[in-house]
C-alpha cells in the first residue's frame, strides 16, 4: 500500500515540478480535566483522587498540500494519551494519505486513514467539531482503534435538489494496542493485535444540512501479535488467532432550527472468548441559545451474556450526561459536563474500568471541563 501511495505521489509530482505547491497548515487542541467520585479507575485512568489532564487533553497539527487540482496529500499528527501507557502522552501519526479526485464525484484516497465506523469518526480528536464534552464511551469505546492503512473510494451521488449520497468502500489492515488487565498481577497491560484484511462499506446521506443518515459495516480477521513465550501470551495467542471480527453501525442526526438530535447504534462481534460481543447506542439532544448550547445525552452498552457458554466478559452500563458548551468565539469553546455512569450487575469486563468486577451494580459520577480550539 505504501508503494502505491508513493507511486501516486511521484506520478502527480512529475508534471508540476516547476510550479509552486499550495499548502495549508491547521491546528486544533483540547485542554481538558476530568475526575470521578470513584476510587476505581475509569476510562483509562480517571479516579477521585485528582483531576486527570491526560485523558482529554490533545494537540494536533495538520498539513494539506495540493499538488495539482486533482491530487493532494494530507498529514496529521496528534499529541494525546499514549496507546501503551495510561499515564503519559505521546505523539501519534493519525493521517498520512494521498487523495486523487478523478472528477467531482469520485475520489480515491490511500495511506493512513480513519476507519469510518462512527458518525464522528473523522473528527474524533477535534473537540471543537462536536458538541459533547466526550463522545459516549458506550458507543465509541467499542472500537479498539480508529485508524488503518489502506485505501478507500469516495463516490458521491446527487439525490434530488438538496440530497447527497456518499458511498465509501474501503480495505486495508491495522495494528493496535489492546488494553486490558493482567490477571496475574492486576496491572494494566497493553498487547499488540493485528486486524488483517479489513474491508468495509460506509454509506452517508445528507439532506440540505438538516438530516444526516449513515450506515456502516466492517469485517476483519483479528490476531494476537505480541509475545507468546509467557503463559499469558500463549493463552491470548490461543484465543485470538485469525478470528472473525465485525462492527456494524447506524447513525442519524437531525437539525431542527437551533436544536440538534443525534443518535447512533453500533454492534461489535468478535469470535473469541477474550472479547465481549457488544451493542452500544446513545441519543443526544442539544439546543443553541446564543453563545450557549446546553445538551443532554443517554448512552447504553450491553453484551451477549451467553457468549462462549458464559465464559466471555460482559459490558453492561449506561451513562446519563448533562452539559453546556460556551462559544468563546468562532474558533474556540468551553465545555462542562456532569454524568452518572450506572454499572450493571452483569458488568465484569475490564475494558472501561481497571477491574470491572469490583464496581458492578454501582453508580459513579464523572465530571469534565475542557477548552477546545481550532486554528
Amino acid at each position: 500500500m505504501n508503494k502505491i501511495l508513493l507511486s501516486l505521489c511521484i506520478a502527480s509530482l512529475l508534471p508540476v515540478t516547476a510550479r509552486a505547491l499550495e499548502g495549508q497548515v491547521s491546528g486544533f487542541g483540547t485542554i481538558g480535566a476530568a475526575s470521578t467520585d470513584s476510587s476505581q479507575a475509569y476510562d483509562r485512568g480517571l479516579d477521585k483522587n485528582n483531576a486527570e489532564w491526560i485523558n482529554d487533553t490533545k494537540a494536533g497539527i495538520q498539513a494539506d498540500v495540493k499538488i495539482n487540482p486533482h491530487f493532494s496529500i494530507t498529514g496529521q499528527v496528534v499529541a494525546k494519551q499514549s496507546t501503551t501507557d495510561d499515564d503519559r502522552m505521546s505523539v501519534q501519526g493519525e493521517w498520512l494519505f494521498g487523495s486523487y479526485a478523478l472528477n467531482d464525484s469520485t475520489k480515491i484516497r490511500a495511506g493512513k486513514l480513519r476507519l469510518p465506523l462512527f458518525m464522528m469518526s473523522e473528527q474524533l480528536d477535534v473537540g471543537k467539531a462536536y458538541i459533547l464534552a466526550k463522545l459516549p464511551l458506550e458507543m465509541y469505546g467499542q472500537a479498539p482503534t480508529n485508524g488503518y492503512v489502506g485505501a478507500d473510494l469516495l463516490k458521491r451521488f446527487e439525490v434530488g435538489e438538496d440530497g447527497e449520497l456518499t458511498i465509501q468502500p474501503y480495505a486495508g489492515m491495522t495494528r493496535f494496542d489492546g488494553r486490558g488487565i493482567n490477571p496475574l498481577d492486576s496491572n494494566v497491560m497493553f498487547k499488540t493485535f493485528e486486524a488483517d484484511s479489513v474491508r468495509g462499506l460506509n454509506v452517508l446521506f445528507d439532506y440540505n444540512e438538516i438530516l444526516r443518515l449513515r450506515a456502516g459495516y466492517m469485517a476483519t480477521k483479528l490476531s494476537y501479535k505480541d509475545e507468546r513465550s509467557s503463559v499469558l501470551g500463549g493463552m491470548i495467542a490461543g484465543m485470538v488467532s485469525n478470528v472473525d471480527a465485525s462492527f456494524a453501525s447506524l447513525g442519524a442526526q437531525l437539525r431542527l432550527g437551533h436544536t440538534t438530535i443525534t443518535g447512533e447504534y453500533g454492534q461489535r462481534r468478535v469470535d473469541s472468548m477474550m472479547f465481549a460481543d457488544t451493542d452500544g447506542r446513545y441519543l443526544s439532544v442539544d439546543h443553541k441559545l446564543g453563545a450557549f448550547t446546553p445538551y443532554l445525552s443517554y448512552a447504553v452498552i450491553s453484551s451477549d451474556k451467553a457468549k462462549m457458554g458464559g465464559m466471555a466478559p460482559n459490558l453492561d452500563q449506561s451513562t446519563k450526561a448533562a452539559g453546556v458548551v460556551y462559544a468563546v468565539n468562532g474558533n474556540s469553546n468551553i465545555k462542562a459536563e456532569a454524568s452518572q455512569v450506572s454499572v450493571g450487575s452483569a458488568n465484569n469486563s475490564n475494558e472501561f474500568f481497571n477491574n470491572g468486577t469490583t464496581i458492578a451494580g454501582k453508580d459513579i459520577a464523572v465530571y469534565r471541563l475542557n477548552y477546545n480550539l481550532m486554528f
Partner: protein, 134 residues
C-alpha cells in the same frame, strides 16, 4: 471641503450598495447556477461546464465576501468558517485560496485559467467574464 466630504460619502454609500458579481477567467464555460457556485466555494464541486475551476476567496471582513456568502451561498461568514474548519479536520478538503480585495481577485481571475471569484459588480471590466450577479 464639506462638499468634497459629502460627495465622498455619497460615492462610498453608492459603492457599498452595489451588488456582487461572480466572475471567472474567460476560459471557464457559461451556464453556472447559484447552486453550482455554492458547491464550488464549499468544496463540493471542482468543475464547471466540464472544466476544472479554481475558486479564490477574499479575506474575512471584506464587504464583497459578506455579500457573496450571504447572497449566493446563503450562509453567514461564521457558518462558512465553521463548515470549512470541519472540512479541513475531517480530511475532506481545504478552503479556497484567499487574496486581499476586489482588485486582487480580479487580477488573479483574469490571469489564471479556470479561476472563479467574486467582486463588487462596479469593479467588473473586460478582463474577466461575469457568471452571475446578485
Amino acid at each position: 471641503m464639506n462638499k468634497f466630504v459629502l460627495l465622498s460619502l455619497l460615492v462610498a454609500s453608492f459603492t457599498a450598495q452595489a451588488g456582487v458579481a461572480v466572475i471567472a477567467n474567460p476560459s471557464v464555460g457559461d451556464g453556472a447556477t447559484d447552486k453550482d457556485i455554492k458547491k464550488v466555494f464549499m468544496g463540493k464541486k471542482s468543475e464547471l461546464a466540464g472544466g476544472v475551476v479554481t475558486p479564490v476567496d477574499q479575506k474575512e471582513g471584506s464587504a464583497s465576501r459578506k455579500a457573496f456568502y450571504e447572497g449566493v451561498v446563503g450562509q453567514t461568514e461564521d457558518e462558512v468558517k465553521a463548515y470549512r474548519t470541519e472540512m479541513v479536520f475531517t480530511g475532506k478538503g481545504t478552503p479556497p485560496k484567499e487574496v486581499a480585495d476586489d482588485a486582487a481577485v480580479k487580477l488573479f481571475v483574469a490571469t489564471t485559467p479556470g479561476a472563479v471569484g467574486y467582486i463588487d459588480e462596479s469593479k467588473v471590466d473586460a478582463s474577466v467574464k461575469v457568471l452571475l450577479k446578485k
